[in-house]
Every structure is written in structure tokens, then in C-alpha cells.
């Protein structure tokens, strides 16, 4: 056999061997495992958008955290021992303060929580049927380092970023919090996190690349990773300085008046921007699960109450706008209590002012005088103005969980309902509705939807958030007359002793008894004060409201002084000077 034949044979043999081997790998062997090139379709999580206050401070941002998992089969330690090591790291972050700062009770709670955590971890780790098991989510970076230092086999981490709140509980009810939905995905609840969840969460991406057996990407074919799109960022109208000051003042006032709770809202009447919205009691969004669920709702937009005398502003504005009364119109029927539909209507202090003017009726917060106004208005007209001022429906503020309040259907109104509604009983409003209505008076009769977000940015474009509606509710003339009556109420009313001298403040106190099981509890009140400053060119509208203050049941002795305390701080902040006259 010559050389060429041998060479030919070798080539044939080699080719046959290669073909047979390829055939074997392709059709016979069917090798399992990650030995071939594969398209990785890992989801790339999107970073949630941040939330900035008006001074561009990130009041909510993201911090690096991890998901802790275990491969139970790879763990070489006894599950109980391992659980004992891990449990102290995985309990609530509220115990992460220095040990010395914890009270004896807290220390005991901590020990109990560690014990409970140990038990749950032991149960998870002892189950060898699982290949992979999740032990904890959102583990802080420092805790991860500590766990990694233990060098325990079978544990691993995945990136699982979480929200970070540099100002802790500041504006908690406005912000809301981020929890998990039923699929374990981060989801916003309440406040801005809930309202803007679909925009804040962004769009997750896909790695979508072919990887080799070592997991490295192969740069041919379908190497087209789809990058995640970060969520949009919210830029708020909330002024951090005002919010911080207001929360502090509210906390002190609640201690002083021994109230169950309180709310302060400050807004700019010219554009509806909310400058501060504070509630007490509050919670920490980072530790939301540690608090009672009842605290999650924002009382400023979700809680309804009978507004009491502050609602007199609405009835009087309506009557002024229709020309049914003017500030000097005298009440001919104000010399004593009135009987309407079998009920007696009296004043709060049983004092009566015969022939008082409309201005004096507001000044004395005269219920009997208001029934005179209501009688002039009648149900149809009064109801229309209640509706025009935005009561009985959502204001459209961009916060989740807003309530509509309660206004009885027009057909169900009886004479007594007309009378009591004129001084704010038998009707339920939310604090934000009250602010919107008084801001309308401050804004020359023009109603503007309140907003918390000024603009939304996604890195490429900026979207300005505009009010849902702007409408003229009362004429500018009627608004001016009403403003003067409110200024007079501050200067000569029950709260005049607390009012700062030299400033023209328009305002009105309110004290409403709380309806309990069909009657009003005389010892439980909701006190409030609503107003705007300076009266002629308002820079802010403010509502102060306390639930069940015990030191005094009256708005003039609780809410009004707090209003003036906060207003004094705002005069300095905005540079508002006392008027010359």
C-alpha cells in the first residue's frame, strides 16, 4: 500500500471518529447540566426612583442590602448551631442601636425575638429536601459582612436593595413605605410610594446573553442584554425645613395639650403646593412592620371629622357670594336659642348677641347666627357651594388612601341638617378638604387642587405636575369680604390673646364634639384652627387639628396657639414682616 492510500485512510478514519463522536454527544449521550452554551435570562432588577424634598434632598433613597439564602445540603454545621449563630443578625433593625441604649424591656424583647428567630431558622435549615432556601431579605450591608466573616459553608447572598430614609420618620405619612407583594416583588403602599408605585418601580431588564459553561458571556449571536430602566424620581413640594419644624411643634403641642393625635397641613394657596403635612402619632417607614397597621393611613387625607365652627367660613362665603348677606347685615333672630325641627340650637358658651352683624357672628363663632345665614341660603344653594368647595369628594391630591368625607345626599336634608351643617355638624370632612376650601378663599375664590409632587424626572425628561382643576368657586369680592371677617375673628375673637401682634392673620377656630353611638360625647372634642397669612397676600394656608385634647376641649386654647406658634416660625422663614398699621 502506497503512502497516498495510507494518508487517505487516515483522513477517512479521523473524519469518521469525529462524526461518530459528535453523533454520540448530540443524540446518544444527552449530557445534563450546564455544559453547553445557554441563553441566560436572569431578570435584572430595576432601581426604584428616589424622592426629593423641595430643597433637592433625597428624603427617600436606596441602600445596598442582600437576600440571604442557604443550600441546606451543603451546610456542614448542625442546623441548631447555625441558627444560633445567624439569629442575632436577622432580628428587627430596631435593636441595632447600641446595647446600652436599650431599656430592660427592650432587651427582654430582643432576647425573645432571637429565640423565635432561632426556631424558625432551625426548621428551615433542617429541611434537606430543598436545594435552595431563602433565610432573610433586605439584610443590611454591615450585617452581611458580619455573616460573611463567620465563613459558614452553604450560605450565599444576592443583591436585594432596600429603601433608606435619612430623616427617619419625617413626613412618613406623605411618603408611605415599600413592602412586598404576593410574588415577593417590592411594592409601594400608602402615600407617594403607593400613589406613584408604577412610576417609581421602573422596568426590570433581562440579561438575555449566551453564556459559556463557565458562565461568561459569549459575544456572538444574541448578546443583547436588556438593561433595566430605573424608576422615575419624584421632586416634592414639601419643604424639608418647614416639615421638620412643624413635626417638632406638633409633637410638643400634643404633649402640652395631652391630645390623642394631631395634624398640621401647610400649603401655598397660589398653586396648591403642600409645604408640610405632619401627623402624630406617626411611624418609621423603614420599620413599618413593627407598627400597628392603623398608623399607616395618612390622617391628613384619610381621616374624616366634623369640622365644627371652621365650616362656618363655607356657609358665610356662600351667602356673601350670592349677595344674601354682607359683613354689616344684622341678624334679627340672634337674641337666644332657636328651635328647629324639635331641636334646640344654642351657642357654645350660651352667650347671645342680639342684632349682631355677620362679621360679629364669625367673631363670636355664633351657631344661632349661622342658622340665620343657613335660612337665607336654603338647602339647594348651600349644598351647591359645599360641593363647589370640594366637600364630599376627593380633592385629587397625589397621595394614596384619600377619603371623600361625608355629605348627606341633597334629597335627605331636613331643616335641622341645614342648620347644623352651617356650623359644621352632621357633615364629615378631611383635613385636606378643609385646607383646599380655605385656600380657595385665600386665593381670591379660585380653587386649586392640592399637590405634593412638583415634578417627575426620569433622567431624560421632566414632567411638571399640574393641578387637576382650577375653578372659580366664589367671586374675588366675596373672598375679600370673607378674609376681612376672618381677620376680625383673629383680632377680636376668643384666640386674640395668642395672636402675634402686628400681623394680619385670617383665621377661624373650630371645636367639634365627637359623635359616639348616635350622640355627641361632651368630653371628647376635635379642635382645629384654619387660616392664612398675610391676609392680603397669603404666603401660606395652615390647618392645625387635635384629636381629644384633655388640657382644654376648645380650639381657641389648643389649636389656635399652636397655629400662631408655627406661624411665627414661618414669618422668620419666609421673611414676612409685620404690617405697618
Amino acid at each position: 500500500m502506497d503512502r497516498f492510500r495510507i494518508f487517505q485512510l487516515c483522513v477517512f478514519l479521523l473524519a469518521a471518529i469525529i462524526i461518530l463522536r459528535l453523533f454520540y454527544w448530540q443524540f446518544v449521550a444527552k449530557i445534563e447540566g450546564n455544559f453547553g452554551a445557554d441563553v441566560s435570562s436572569d431578570t435584572l432588577p430595576a432601581t426604584r426612583g428616589e424622592i426629593y424634598t423641595a430643597d433637592n434632598f433625597p428624603i427617600v433613597t436606596n441602600q445596598n442590602a442582600s437576600l440571604l439564602y442557604a443550600h441546606p445540603r451543603e451546610i456542614d454545621k448542625d442546623p441548631k448551631d447555625l441558627a444560633r449563630i445567624l439569629a442575632p443578625f436577622l432580628i428587627s433593625e430596631k435593636y441595632s442601636t447600641r446595647e446600652a441604649r436599650l431599656s430592660a424591656d427592650e432587651k427582654q424583647q430582643k432576647e425573645e425575638e432571637i429565640k423565635t428567630k432561632e426556631e424558625s431558622l432551625t426548621a428551615k435549615l433542617a429541611n434537606k429536601n430543598f436545594f435552595w432556601i431563602q433565610l432573610a431579605r433586605k439584610v443590611p450591608r454591615q450585617t452581611r459582612y458580619k455573616i460573611e466573616d463567620t465563613k459558614i459553608n452553604g450560605l450565599g447572598f444576592e443583591r436585594d436593595d432596600k429603601r433608606f430614609y435619612p430623616e427617619a420618620s419625617l413626613a412618613a405619612h406623605v411618603i408611605g413605605f415599600v413592602g412586598s407583594d404576593k410574588f415577593g416583588e417590592d411594592t409601594g403602599y400608602f402615600g407617594l410610594e403607593g400613589y406613584y408605585d408604577h412610576r417609581l418601580r421602573g422596568k426590570p431588564g433581562k440579561s438575555g446573553k449566551i453564556i459559556d459553561p463557565f458562565g461568561f458571556p459569549i459575544l456572538i449571536g444574541k448578546f443583547r442584554p436588556h438593561q433595566p430602566q430605573k424608576g422615575t424620581s419624584l421632586h416634592l413640594t414639601i419643604d424639608r425645613s418647614i416639615q421638620f419644624m412643624v413635626e417638632e411643634k406638633l409633637r410638643l403641642a400634643i404633649e402640652k395639650y395631652d391630645a390623642k393625635g394631631g395634624t398640621i397641613i401647610i400649603s401655598d394657596p397660589k398653586n396648591g403646593h403642600i409645604l408640610a403635612m405632619a401627623n402624630s402619632p406617626t411611624y418609621q417607614p423603614a420599620l413599618y412592620s413593627e407598627y400597628n397597621e392603623n398608623l399607616y393611613k395618612n390622617p391628613a387625607v384619610a381621616e374624616t371629622y366634623e369640622p365644627g365652627s371652621t365650616f362656618k367660613l363655607i356657609a358665610m362665603s356662600a351667602a356673601l357670594d350670592l349677595g344674601l348677606v354682607d359683613p354689616q347685615t344684622r341678624c334679627e333672630d340672634c337674641s337666644g336659642a332657636r328651635q328647629i325641627g324639635g331641636f334646640e340650637i344654642s351657642t357654645w358658651n350660651k352667650k347671645y348677641y342680639p342684632n349682631s352683624t355677620m362679621t360679629e357672628i364669625i367673631q363670636h363663632s355664633d351657631n344661632v347666627g349661622m342658622t340665620y345665614v343657613a335660612a337665607k341660603l336654603q338647602v339647594d344653594k348651600f349644598y351647591d357651594y359645599i360641593s363647589k368647595f370640594g366637600f364630599g369628594k376627593e380633592t385629587g391630591i397625589d397621595l394614596q388612601g384619600e377619603s371623600t368625607g361625608f355629605v348627606r345626599a341633597k334629597k335627605d336634608w331636613k331643616p335641622i341638617d341645614l342648620a347644623t351643617a352651617s356650623f359644621g355638624q352632621g357633615i364629615a370632612v378631611t383635613p385636606i378638604q378643609m385646607v383646599q376650601a380655605v385656600a380657595t378663599i385665600a386665593n381670591h375664590g379660585k380653587l386649586i387642587t392640592p399637590k405634593v409632587v412638583a415634578r417627575i424626572e426620569d433622567g431624560k425628561k421632566t414632567e411638571e405636575v399640574k393641578p387637576n382643576q382650577i375653578r372659580q368657586v366664589i367671586s374675588p369680592q366675596a373672598a375679600t369680604l370673607m378674609t376681612e371677617m376672618m381677620v376680625n375673628a383673629v383680632q377680636n375673637g376668643e384666640a386674640k390673646a395668642f395672636a402675634p401682634k402686628g400681623f394680619r392673620i385670617a383665621g377661624k377656630t373650630g371645636t367639634a364634639q365627637i359623635p359616639v353611638a348616635g350622640h355627641y360625647d361632651p368630653n371628647k372634642t376635635i379642635t382645629s384652627f384654619v387660616g392664612f397669612v398675610p391676609a392680603d397676600d397669603p404666603r401660606f394656608v395652615m390647618l392645625v387639628r387635635f384629636t381629644e385634647p384633655t388640657s382644654s376641649p376648645f380650639g381657641s386654647e389648643t389649636a389656635a396657639p399652636t397655629f400662631f406658634e408655627v406661624a411665627k416660625e414661618l414669618f422668620n422663614y419666609f421673611g414676612i414682616l409685620p404690617s405697618k398699621n
Binding site: F57, P166, G215, L219
Partner: protein, 103 residues
């Protein structure tokens, strides 16, 4: 059959029927064969070099991705520290520690 076989038959035939060991046609065919083989080898070598390079690039990309993620995390951590230090909550605590009082 492959061209090698064709070449082989012709070549054998010519050896038997030609007194001269090498003729012109045979020379040309050998040259074609050699050139083709060289081209194939060069192409194969190039392919291998590129494949190896792609594999290395994949590894590099993977390393760069890891580096990017590390830097991103570092940035996040720095941002968190900055916001924490400049928060009113921290400033208030510091002011209290330093003995500042409000007039």
C-alpha cells in the same frame, strides 16, 4: 468523494502511463492542493484565535460588569452616608451634643 480522491486517481494514472515522473498538470494540482490546505489551515487558525479572543472578551466583559456593579454599590453607599450626615436628624443630634441652643 473529496477532491483528494480525484487527485489521487489522476496522479496514479499518470505515474503508470507517463514516463516522466512529474508533468505540468500534476504540478499545478499539487500547488492548488497545498495552497488550499494552507488557506484552510489559516482560516482555521484565525477562527480559533477569534474564538479564543471572544471567550477571553466574554470573561473581560464579565469582570467589567462586576466592577461596574461594585462601583455602583460603592456609589450607593457613599450617597447613603452623605444623606445621613446631612440630614436634619443627624444635625440636630450633633448640635445637641455640641451644646447649641435655640434662642
Amino acid at each position: 468523494m473529496l477532491p483528494i480522491s480525484v487527485f489521487d486517481k489522476n496522479f496514479a494514472f499518470k505515474i503508470k502511463n507517463n514516463n516522466q515522473n512529474i508533468n505540468l498538470i500534476g504540478r499545478v494540482k499539487v500547488k492548488v492542493l497545498v495552497v488550499t490546505a494552507i488557506i484552510i489551515l489559516v482560516v482555521l487558525a484565525t477562527q480559533m484565535v477569534f474564538a479564543a479572543s471572544l471567550a477571553t472578551d466574554g470573561q473581560k466583559i464579565s469582570q467589567i460588569d462586576q466592577e461596574i456593579e461594585k462601583l455602583e454599590i460603592e456609589n450607593i453607599n457613599l450617597k447613603v452616608q452623605i444623606t445621613q450626615q446631612s440630614s436634619f436628624k443627624t444635625l440636630k443630634e450633633k448640635a445637641k451634643t455640641l451644646g447649641f441652643e435655640k434662642n
